[in-house]
């Protein structure tokens, strides 16, 4: 017998772009309301483009989630996998009832405990003991029940000697231990965990995973977002994959992780858009292809040798005459750390790009960026491409559209064979030692 515990029915959520950090003013709202009374309504036509990022943008709104259909049975432990910005956290926030969906409905059976951040709901001035009661109450627990489980919570969190200390004096590890202990022990019917486990130490992480699977065995529903794919594989019986705000796969974790990794290392060193309908475009520009070549050849390759120049080639069409074009690439590593960015502007070029800033006649163009040999380390890199009329103005944007792996051929390993220090780059530099005094 299984009971449906969570039900999402065509759930979509949109946010206003750029307004995330702005607070409105009542005076301004009233003023613009009065103004609009005297203005004839002329709605701007929403710009649409086939680009996956642009597709989520509509008239100043950004669709974080689109038509999510999901049904989870009680007792399920479900992992949510996806790239950054795929909508994982928004989905959890909707389930936790923090964010109201723009469309669709969400049904949840019973009490929801959510751990979306370290020490959620802790008040820094209150002691550990007082916070357990407050946090428990926020999670919907009667005081009598909290009292009953109090010792268990404190023992799990290993903070016995700090009970009467204000939480502001806790280390982040202590705070997250206590937060997890409260959330996990107060018997939520649904427990939602977002990355918080990455804060604690190894031993505590294991303890948390054990507790989570125990909750699942008790017939409670657990939802986990984690970049720790091994944890997802071990803990979950089911996983879903999100991409660009849509739920694209729902399967056993092994298969989802496989698909996710395949997506991450998408392709053969080339992304091509053959038909005009699917290619990323703006009014003036249309992206045709992006490719990486290395190994001394012109064939696109997703694996390149460390001792060869790497070329990132961007091909695009100019649709309107006299459009100035600037091409930009961002290179990030697997952890998402920024390695470098570059544009074809003179200040970033060894020799000026003849077409930079010039009005382009209609036609197809190919911009090529050359990354020197023996510069990147032997790891995977992700390339994002930006096209616009000038540096800093983005008309077309493709995030992490390509990835490539640099292989160590041994060319730089003549004296030293251990793993390379410094994970991101490994440049060959000019060194010279001179005698100063004999």
């Amino acid at each position: 017998m299984s009971i449906e515990s969570i039900h999402l029915d065509k759930v979509s959520k949109r946010f206003r772009l750029g307004a995330a950090n702005e607070y409105g003013r009542l005076t301004e709202a009233i003023a613009s309301g009065v103004q609009s009374l005297f203005r004839t309504s002329s709605k701007p036509v929403p710009k649409r483009s086939q680009d996956s990022f642009a597709e989520r943008i509509e008239d100043g709104w950004f669709w974080a989630l689109r038509d999510i259909e999901l049904s989870i049975q009680s007792g399920d432990i479900v992992g949510i996998v996806g790239r950054n910005g795929a909508g994982k956290s928004t989905l959890l926030k909707i389930l936790a009832r923090i964010v109201t969906p723009t469309q669709g409905r969400v049904g949840v059976r019973g009490r929801v405990g959510s751990l979306l951040e370290v020490g959620t709901g802790f008040h820094p001035e209150l002691t550990g003991r007082e916070n357990v009661f407050l946090n428990g109450a926020i999670l919907g627990m009667p005081r009598s029940e909290i009292r009953k489980r109090f010792d268990e919570i404190v023992a799990f969190a290993e903070i016995e000697s700090f009970l009467e200390t204000p939480v502001k004096r806790y280390s982040s590890g202590m705070a997250v231990r206590l937060a997890f202990a409260v959330a996990a022990h107060l018997e939520p019917d649904v427990l939602i965990i977002d990355e918080v486990l990455s804060v604690g130490d190894q031993a505590f992480q294991r303890k948390c995973l054990g507790k989570a699977s125990q909750l699942g065995a008790q017939g409670r529903t657990v939802l986990v977002v984690s970049h720790n794919l091994a944890a997802v594989a071990n803990l979950c019986r089911r996983a879903v994959l999100l991409r660009d705000g849509r739920l694209i796969a729902d399967d056993v974790p092994e298969r989802i992780i496989e698909q996710y990794l395949a997506e991450m290392r998408s392709g053969d060193g080339q992304r091509q858009w053959d038909d005009d309908d699917s290619s990323p475009c703006s009014k003036e520009l249309r992206l045709r292809s992006i490719s990486v070549t290395g190994n001394g050849t012109d064939t696109p390759a997703s694996e390149v040798d460390i001792d060869q120049e790497i070329h990132v080639v961007v091909e695009y069409r100019v649709l309107i005459a006299e459009t100035p074009v600037s091409v930009q690439i961002h290179v990030k590593d697997e952890t998402g750390s920024f390695v470098f960015w570059s544009a074809n502007a003179p200040s970033m070029n060894l020799e000026p790009d003849p077409w930079f800033g010039k009005p382009h006649p209609i036609g197809t163009y190919r911009s090529e960026c050359c990354i020197p040999a023996n510069f990147l380390n032997d790891t995977r890199y992700f390339v994002s491409v930006f096209l616009g009329p000038e540096v800093g103005v983005v008309a077309i944007r493709k995030d992490s559209v390509l990835s490539f792996v640099v292989h160590d051929t041994g060319a730089m390993r003549q004296e030293y064979t251990g793993s390379w220090l410094g994970p991101v780059i490994r440049p060959r530099l000019h060194w010279c030692t001179r005698t100063v005094q004999p």
Binding site: L26, K93, I98, V99, P101, V106, V112, G219
Partner: protein, 287 residues
């Protein structure tokens, strides 16, 4: 499956159930323990950080009363139609009521914004936060009311015991009015930050627009009877007037004034509830 059928909670679908937001009231009743926890937390934090502690609650209205008595004594005028001594309890009831209004407005307006690190991370009925601030203000109000007995004793004013019990429902009226206002203010402030900046100014003005340091009798002489109901449409004015009438036997507000004030109170409460629910939908995105 460890759970039995009879313990399976119902599937709860989110989203507004009714346009007027009455569903929020049922939810607040369900989560009243949390309301108590928030109230306790606010109280604890307040008195942990303030050295004078509970004395502060008594000191504030008392000081306010003494300052205005001194002021009127120096100016040589009387704000009420009575002697300076018997004026003390009149001004004290006004001060107590005003403190309830001012401190609940002040604390509740910031309550959602100050707690946004929790509001954006965890769900609970948001209305609990401003209501907890209101409960703190009510707590102060109740403690402060105890001052009336010694002040009446010293000034030789006798409390009208036959109508004194009416003070309870009258105070409740004022509290309900405050609840409606803070539902408006707290959600407005989460969306529009300038509300918080404008509030101190509005409160300062409100203190003199309401009969806090004078009594309504005084105004009756200025306003003609035809217009006094408009003044009494302000529920704060009517409640203060009624409280003074029930406790001290001063003239009550006019019937028309009371009726208008009651309508105003209902309008603010219902619209506040509906507005709060509407604002709550975008709270985590906007706050």
């Amino acid at each position: 499956m460890a759970k039995n059928d009879d313990t399976i909670p119902p599937m709860h679908f989110y989203g507004p159930t009714d346009a007027f937001g009455f569903g929020q009231l049922a939810e607040i009743w369900r989560t009243r323990e949390l309301l108590y926890s928030f109230f306790l937390r606010d109280l604890l934090i307040r008195y942990r950080q303030v050295v004078v502690g509970i004395l502060w609650v008594l000191l504030q209205p008392l000081m306010g009363m003494l300052i205005f008595m001194g002021l009127f004594f120096v100016l040589g005028t009387q704000a009420g139609n009575s002697t300076v001594a018997s004026y003390a309890p009149v001004i004290l009831t006004g001060m107590l009521c005003w403190q309830l209004v001012a401190s609940s407005f002040r604390d509740a307006t910031g309550s959602l914004v100050n707690y946004r690190h929790v509001v954006t991370k965890i769900y609970f009925p948001r209305l609990l936060l401003p209501l907890a601030s209101l409960m703190c203000a009510v707590f102060d109000f109740v403690i402060g009311s105890l001052l009336l007995l010694p002040v009446c004793g010293i000034t030789g004013t006798s409390i009208v015991w036959t109508t004194a019990w009416l003070a309870m429902p009258i105070a409740l009226w004022l509290i309900v009015f405050c609840a409606g206002c803070i539902a408006w203010l707290s959600a407005l402030n989460a969306h529009y930050r300038d509300v918080g900046y404008a509030l101190p100014f509005v409160l300062q003005l409100g203190m003199f627009v309401s009969p806090v340091v004078y009594d309504i009798e005084r105004l009756r002489a200025l306003l003609t009877d035809r217009w006094v109901w408009l003044y009494e449409a302000n529920p704060i004015a009517t409640c203060i007037g009624l409280l003074r009438w029930s406790l001290l036997g001063t003239a009550p507000p006019s019937a028309l004034g009371m009726a208008t004030a009651a309508i105003v109170t209902l309008l603010i409460c219902f619209s506040g509830l509906a507005w709060f629910q509407h604002a709550d939908q975008q709270l985590a995105d906007r706050i």
